[in-house]
């Protein structure tokens, strides 16, 4: 009994102290020193330091996820660095982390440092109220990119985001435009429940429901190339007819194509089976250029130019939420230039 009481007391003390430290740290953040931003993260780069700028450089602080997250993020980060460059009249400070609290700390650091604009792609949708309010009080304008945050609209200038379902809509619209006599579709899904999977599945599911397209098989390969190959192989072995492969990323499309190749089924522009992928990796776009695949869709990682135009007043936002235009490439019209400009990775 005594022992139990003691343990309860201990837990109480522990909880109390944690609460206090939590308060303490958030209080400290407000006063904040600029070093927190640079020490917290795994990668911090600072552009040429022109501290007292009467020269008119615009200071931009970018809080983003690290480029190692995905090919998408890599392209996103490169795009930001290219657009907000010194030549374009910017002074760029960046911070990359997958952790929300580190991102929050870095954002607070940018605010106290006194940037003109704060650009945020948050790791999590919650917890940003305080920091964005601080930014507003300091007169710093906030733009969200890629990801929305759960805060009041008044706290940011605009959010440039992707509409995930637009990607699927665009791809399915392209597929319908091919005017095939019948659509027998093998649908290979990404990891169930992920944003990309939901966005890329929705439009196709509508077609299945309306009966315009036939669902031969709909399976998730959880982004796994080898699994996608197995799924397509099992359909081929069953002898069922199909003429479209709709894979929700490039890797799975490649797996599917490997199964077709082994079974001697032609694919691509002049082939029997239409192959569709997503992500626009450079190697996938090269398959398009070689006319071995038919279509590749992309969730565009290029938001920097839109934000830059807004900052410089070249365009004005009609609403707080700006939907970034999605892209889709057709094998019959794609050029080498498209691959160089829009392709991800190498």
């Amino acid at each position: 009994m005594k022992k139990r009481l003691k343990s309860i007391l201990m837990t109480g003390v522990l909880a109390m102290s944690m609460f206090l430290t939590a308060c303490g740290s958030s209080g400290g953040d407000k006063g904040g020193d600029s070093t927190t931003a640079s020490s917290g993260g795994d990668k911090t780069t600072e552009a040429a330091a022109t501290k007292d700028d009467a020269t008119g450089t615009i200071k931009v602080g970018v809080v983003n996820n690290p480029p190692s997250e995905s090919g998408y993020r890599e392209a996103n980060v490169k795009d930001m660095e290219a657009v907000f460059s010194a030549e374009n009249g910017y002074e760029l400070k960046t911070f990359y982390s997958l952790k929300n609290d580190e991102q929050l700390q870095a954002a607070q650091g940018f605010i106290t440092e006194g940037v003109d604009y704060l650009l945020v792609s948050a790791a999590e949708t919650t917890g940003w109220d305080e920091v964005l309010k601080n930014a507003q009080e300091a007169g710093i304008k906030v733009y969200l990119f890629d990801r929305m945050i759960d805060v009041d609209e008044s706290l940011y200038e605009a959010a440039v985001v992707s509409d995930m379902s637009a990607e699927g809509d665009l791809a399915v619209k392209w597929l319908l435009d091919q005017n095939l006599p019948e659509y027998n579709v093998i649908h290979i899904q990404g990891a169930m429940g992920s944003d990309a999977q939901i966005g890329r599945t929705g439009a196709l599911d509508e077609q299945f429901a309306s009966g315009k397209m036939n669902k031969v098989v709909q399976q998730t390969a959880t982004w796994d190339e080898a699994e996608a190959k197995k799924i397509v192989e099992s359909v081929i072995n069953s002898g069922e007819k199909f003429n479209v492969i709709y894979a929700e990323n490039d890797g799975m499309a490649k797996g599917a194509v490997a199964a077709l190749d082994e079974a001697g089924i032609t694919h691509g522009v002049d082939g029997d089976v239409i192959v569709m992928g997503f992500d626009c990796n450079k190697w996938a776009l090269r398959e398009l250029l070689a006319k071995k695949w038919n279509y590749d869709g992309q969730c565009s990682p290029f938001q920097a130019q839109i934000i830059s135009d807004l900052i410089q007043g070249k365009t004005t936002a009609s609403s707080k939420k700006i939907i970034n235009e999605e892209k889709g490439f057709d094998a019959t019209t794609i050029t080498q230039e498209d691959i160089d400009t829009y392709g991800l990775g190498e």
Binding site: G71, T220, A226, N237, S238, G251, K254, A258, E262, G264
Partner: protein, 359 residues
């Protein structure tokens, strides 16, 4: 002659009873469900080669990486009485090393592929030796020791890849991962056969099998008999490293692409399972590599059967689990001893009857 016949029936196939029964049940189930399941057709692939196709080919082809890994895993299990859970991550590293070596040169020839393969082997053996040292020298439990590489392996692969999913395309790579022109059997299947033969030869010409078993059964006794137990354990991990390199290279060559996140994901669990289905004790000691190979094919036959039945791939794991529970329970010592008891009882009764008749 008679004694041999009797032996097979009396002791069953020994350790191989369970995996063979499992595979027979799956075959019969499929024959009833759809007799055409096992039909094999001859077609031309898109490169114009004559190739075999069909579910059976898909099964033995897709199970290749698993079969190779299961062979190495059996050895590690037997020697150390534990399992290596880092083989998937290590294969990602080996695959990445293979691709990075191929991409460093300008053209891909037979020589560079061989060089890249040795490079991958070097990587995988080094990581195998790392695991082996932790287990054999520092006496850390294998699962904990290999947990380290399991956790960080795919990140290491990511560094090697430089953050992307590099692709390689070359007729040689296609030949390794798919078909060699003129040979209608998938190359990965041939690789499995070659690896199995190498194991057989090594066991035949060296005392590795005996030493491994004795270390697994009683390490102290083995040491007292002059066997270097530490070395045997370390060696088993290095050999598994070689198997990992082979599996990684097969997997990369299938698609000419390395994705550190998805390559051979969760294969470690399947490999351990294959060893268990093969009737090997996961506590070490006596082992049969052939059992593990059959185990690998059982797992893939199950997967492909479920796909053919259009079971949703999210549900496949659940169905797999049910079958595995059955297999493992049937193969458990409790059930086995009960079964043997019952059999002897039956036999005793029979002998009694027959003696009566003779009287």
């Amino acid at each position: 002659m008679k004694s041999k016949f009797q032996k097979i029936f009396k002791g069953g196939l020994g350790q191989l009873t369970i995996p063979i029964i499992a595979i027979l049940i799956l075959v019969i189930f499929n024959l009833i469900r759809d007799p055409s399941f096992f039909s094999i057709s001859v077609t031309h692939n898109n490169d114009g080669n004559i190739v075999l196709a069909g579910n059976l080919i898909s099964i033995i082809n897709a199970a290749s990486e698993l079969a190779v890994l299961a062979m190495g895993m059996t050895l590690v299990t037997a020697a150390s009485g534990g399992q290596d859970i880092s083989v998937g991550a290590a294969a990602a590293i080996a695959g990445s090393a293979f691709v990075s070596m191929l991409k460093s040169g300008s053209t891909i020839t037979g020589g560079t592929v061989l060089l890249a393969f040795f490079y991958a082997c070097l990587f995988a053996m080094a990581f195998g030796a790392f695991n082996g040292t932790l287990v054999a020298v520092f006496k850390i439990q294998p699962m904990i020791a290999t947990l380290i590489l399991y956790t960080c392996g795919r990140s290491i692969a990511y560094w090697i890849n430089g953050g992307a999913t590099p692709t390689v395309s070359s007729p040689i790579i296609t030949a390794i991962g798919s078909f060699i022109p003129g040979i209608p059997i998938p190359t990965p299947v041939i690789i499995v056969i070659v690896v199995a033969i190498i194991f057989k030869l090594v066991f035949h010409f060296t005392s590795l099998e005996l030493f491994t078993q004795s270390v697994g059964i009683n390490e102290k006794a083995a040491r007292l008999n002059g066997i270097n137990a530490t070395w045997i354990k370390l060696l088993s991990f290095i050999i598994l490293g070689l198997c990992v390199a082979v599996a990684g290279v097969i997997s990369v060559s299938r698609l000419g692409l390395i994705n550190h996140e998805t390559i051979l994901l969760d294969v470690e669990m399947d490999a351990i399972l294959a060893v268990a289905i093969g009737g090997n004790s996961l506590g070490g000691g006596k082992f049969k590599i052939s059992g593990s190979i059959i185990g690998a094919y059982v797992i893939h036959m199950l997967t492909i059967t479920l796909y053919a039945m259009k079971v949703s791939s999210t549900d496949v794991k659940a169905y797999k689990a049910i079958v595995i529970i059955l297999l493992v329970v049937i193969g458990s010592p409790v059930i086995k001893s009960k079964f043997t008891k019952r059999m002897t009882q039956l036999k005793n009764r029979k002998t009694k009857v027959s003696t009566k008749g003779a009287l």
